[in-house]
């Protein structure tokens, strides 16, 4: 034996192996990552891959058959509910495990465990918002109800059965690349997933921003810049609806003017700007009087962030008592938006303000006691342990008052509050509720009464639930458990030293605005105000107006409607905001002395038909000119404003100048002369030319290229994302597709004796970037086409659409 060479070459070998098996070169061990039998190559799904398989699980009580169709949509046929939800969990995990875990980790404030320090601020914010606290209280309700408990238990067993079957080589791609492993699923994780949707849909408030605006502007200017009721309002429940006298008599605090509405010293200091978040959605239903078939048609397209893998996963669930098809959430049992043999339903976000802040007076920095109703009260503490990848653990202490967690304090301002004051958050999503029950009961609903009973469980996030059934009923309900507020309550930070500013009661279910078989033969919602000002409870402000207007205008005009008409309506790019604003711009642009290039751009705007079509150049000109105009109008007023503030809505500016051409804010207060509307619009137009010419040079003048819609992978890794999609639409169009936000699931259900349904979402059924089913729906979605949705019947096992079969036995 030659010791020295043996030693040297052994050391080299071991060194190589150790290096390649460690995370020195990459976040993941390179040797393991590239080993064809273990690493990423194992995730390269063959184009001939078969998904047929036989599984045996002792947890099952009977047989379950799954038929996967040519789009990889599973049709699950089970004998019992518990087996059904087991297999639903198993399939969600099989095709979407990584996103389920990532999203629930993020919801729980545990993202730092996966991505490291970069997520610490997010994690602290979510812990301080009380996300886990909220999920835990929700879980208690879910587990109190035998039906939802059974579904959650079986679902969790199914997910865990899949996780237990994983080997190094079958681990989803992202785990390999990021070098970690999945942990066990639990019912709490499903609760966290649903709470994450609450955060997404009912976790938006502008209380700090509005407080700053109130402090900065005079009372008169403030009410002009932030009106609480808009003129061209076409609410969800039409104007003129008669509302009963409210059953709750709200006591407005006696010092409301001096200590709240007109109080100026609640300044909050801050550095960063808050990201703009606008979740929108459309839904509507028409009854048989308006359709060609004589049966109702229901449509829904919820607008959410566009991600890969998609938030949605299509499924059919079938047992002897249940047959439902639609979009499911990987992370929770049941179908969320869909239809069964009797009815269909869909949702848009209610968008009312259900998150308010109270300023707390602590006795001292220890935060052990706070002043409330003329006495010192004891605080409760929740200790948050945040594990951080490659870093020391972070410990956070969160004080809880009668209102809720003290989210912002000396150690955390969230970029919007103040490090010298204390703000407790009162969030509706902290209250006990069992939203899963709403969906489980909707899955089995037969009639209008079942629908009402089901959605009465939906408390937060409040949703506008549209409904239609085969008997011919249509309905819309602005469902949610909404706090009854006096006018202005919760628009700003409220005093937290006594109970007078607290929410006093919830609006009773019977007093929620709704419509059932209305004489106009249709119902619709697009996130606009739920009702007009005759509704006796305060509804807050800031609802988007324009999609609702165009939807109602079109539905009013349409007759003999077919599903095809609904497809063109749902993908309609008409911009009703531009229809109102463009003439105003054109009438005020002074054409004298315009350069040749300016005239060219003006011609594009003049020739524009208000359609945000993908190839439209007029749409781009309008967008750029309006943005510059809005900046020019308000930049001077906001020049010295605190950084955490919110600008007036586009609708406020448009309504302002439509009703008053001498609109107060038109004049530039930093110059001595008085600018007219025409001056400002002409300057805004000229200011736009440089940007427009640049876009033209780069070949981005066409609207779809200028807007540049993309569907990002959840890590934002570009190779796993789909970029530069050719799609029109925009904020104010029914096709509300923005750069990374838009219709996340389009569904049309015609409730004819044999249901005719269509749907599409921007993603694919398989979450694996190495699968041809990863993003195969995206081009369909972008081009505005739909897939027929197949409600498979027992006996259709031999249908040519069935490509693969999975069988589950115990």
């Amino acid at each position: 034996m030659r010791i020295l060479p043996l030693l040297i070459s052994s050391v080299i070998t071991v060194g190589l192996v150790v290096t390649l098996n460690s995370k020195l070169l990459l976040p993941a061990p390179l040797g393991k990552l590239l080993s064809p039998q273990h690493g990423v190559w194992q995730n390269a799904e063959s184009s001939q891959a078969s998904f047929s398989e036989d599984f045996k699980f002792p947890q099952l009580t009977g047989k379950v058959q799954v038929y996967l169709d040519d789009r990889l949509v599973p049709h699950i046929f089970a004998e019992r509910d518990r087996d059904l939800y087991f297999v639903q969990g198993f399939l969600h995990a099989k095709f979407r495990l990584w996103q389920m875990e990532l999203q629930t980790h993020a919801a729980a404030g545990r993202a730092s465990e996966i991505v490291g320090k970069i997520a610490l601020k997010h994690d602290r914010e979510f812990r301080r918002l009380g996300m886990v606290y909220a999920a835990e209280s929700s879980l208690k309700e879910m587990e109190k109800d035998p039906q939802t408990k059974l579904a959650c238990d079986s679902y969790t067993e199914g997910v865990n059965a899949y996780i237990a079957s994983l080997t190094e080589s079958s681990l989803p791609l992202e785990y390999k690349l990021m070098g970690y492993k999945p942990e066990k699923w639990s019912n709490l994780k499903s609760a966290l997933f649903l709470k994450n949707m609450s955060e997404n849909l009912a976790g938006h408030d502008n209380d700090f921003e509005m407080t700053n605006a109130k402090n900065y502007f005079s009372k008169e200017d403030f009410s002009k810049l932030y009106p609480s009721y808009q003129d061209s309002l076409d609410p969800i429940i039409p104007k003129g609806t008669i509302y009963e006298k409210p059953s709750i008599e709200l006591k407005v605090p006696v010092d409301v003017d001096s200590n709240y509405l007109n109080k100026k010293d609640l300044a909050v200091t801050t550095q960063e700007e808050k990201p703009d978040r606008n979740n929108g959605s459309n839904n509507w239903a028409v009854n048989g009087a308006k359709t060609k078939s004589g049966s109702p048609i229901l449509c829904n397209d919820p607008h959410l962030g566009l991600n890969l893998p998609s938030l949605w996963y299509e499924m059919q669930l079938h047992t002897p008592e249940l047959n439902v098809y639609g979009a499911t959430f990987p992370g929770a049992p049941a179908v969320i938006i869909g239809y069964n043999d009797s009815c269909a339903w869909g949702v848009t976000n209610g968008g009312r303000d259900v998150r308010d802040y109270y300023e707390i007076q602590f006795k001292d920095e220890s935060k052990r006691e706070y002043w409330y109703d003329s006495a010192w009260r004891k605080t409760e503490f929740r200790y948050e342990t945040i594990l951080i990848k490659d870093s020391a653990t972070y410990m956070d202490t969160v004080a809880y008052t009668v209102f809720g967690p003290v989210m912002y304090d000396q150690s955390f301002s969230g970029g919007r509050a103040s490090n010298s004051r204390y703000f407790s958050v009162r969030w509706k999503a902290h209250d006990k509720s069992n939203e899963l029950k709403a969906f489980m009961q909707l899955n089995k609903a037969h009639n209008y009464e079942d629908y009402l009973l089901a959605i009465s469980n939906m408390k937060t996030p409040g949703q506008n639930f549209v409904f239609a059934n085969k008997v011919g009923d249509i309905a819309m309900r602005t469902q949610g458990e909404w706090p009854a507020k006096w006018k202005g309550q919760g628009d700003f930070i409220m005093p937290g030293t006594d109970s007078t500013y607290q929410w006093q009661a919830m609006i009773p279910f019977e007093e929620t605005p709704f419509q059932y078989n209305p004489s106009r033969n249709f119902v619709s919602s697009a996130n606009q105000d739920p009702a007009d000002s005759s509704y006796p409870y305060y509804l807050g402000r800031g609802y988007p107006l324009y999609r609702g207007i165009i939807i109602n205008r079109r539905l009013q005009a349409l007759n003999d409607i077919t599903p095809k008409d609904m497809m063109s309506l749902q993908t309609n790019n008409y911009n009703v905001f531009a229809e109102m604003a463009t003439p105003l711009l054109l009438n005020n642009i002074n054409e004298n002395g315009l350069s040749l290039n300016e005239i060219k751009m003006l011609r594009l705007l003049k020739a524009w038909d208000y359609n945000n079509a993908p190839y439209s150049r007029g749409a781009t000109v309008f967008d750029v000119v309006w943005t510059n105009f809005s900046k020019l109008v308000f930049d001077d007023e906001f020049k010295n404003a605190p950084p955490v503030i919110i600008r007036p809505l586009e609708s406020t500016l448009l309504q302002g100048i439509l009703s008053d051409s001498a609109y107060k804010f038109i004049d530039n207060i930093t110059t001595t002369e008085i600018e007219t509307l025409s001056d400002v619009i002409t300057i805004a137009f000229k200011n736009s030319i440089a940007d427009l010419e640049k876009a033209q040079k780069e070949g981005r003048l066409e609207w779809s290229k200028f807007k540049d819609t993309r569907v990002n992978h959840l890590t934002k890794l570009e190779p796993f994302s789909r970029l530069h999609l050719s799609i029109g639409g925009g904020t104010h169009s029914i096709n509300a597709t923005k750069s990374n936000h838009g219709p996340s699931w389009r569904m049309i259900v015609s409730l004819t004796p044999k249901t005719e349904a269509y749907g599409v979402y921007p993603g694919g059924q398989n979450g694996n970037p190495g699968s041809r089913f990863y993003d195969n729906f995206i081009d369909h979605w972008a081009s505005g086409t739909y897939y027929p949705l197949w409600m498979m019947a027992a006996g259709e096992e031999g249908d040519s659409r069935v490509q693969w079969k999975m069988s589950f036995t115990n």
Binding site: I12, T13, V17, L20, G31, A44, F720
Partner: protein, 112 residues
Amino acid sequence: MKFIVSVLLIALLSLAVGLYLPWWTIALVAFIVTSLIPQNPMRSFLSGFTALFLLWGALAWIISSNNNHLLAGKVALVLKMGNPILLIIVTALIGGLVAGFAALAGSFVRRK
């Protein structure tokens, strides 16, 4: 002859252990084979290198072709390698180097 037998043995055994054991067992396989089939150090190294370069290269190539290079294209971009063929070559090289050095070490076990 010894060379070809070594290459074949290392490749086949690596394929087999790879089904059940961690990726780095290819090093053990190469080490054991060259310590049992004595060749000079250079030839030993080459037999280990060739075996795994060919095995991993071929496996990656077959898998990737069946996948129309869909995933390899994406992962190559993530790892900043540009194209799927390069990713296959890097895969083959890593396998080849680890097995090559292990085989070299193995060749010294019985040498005087």
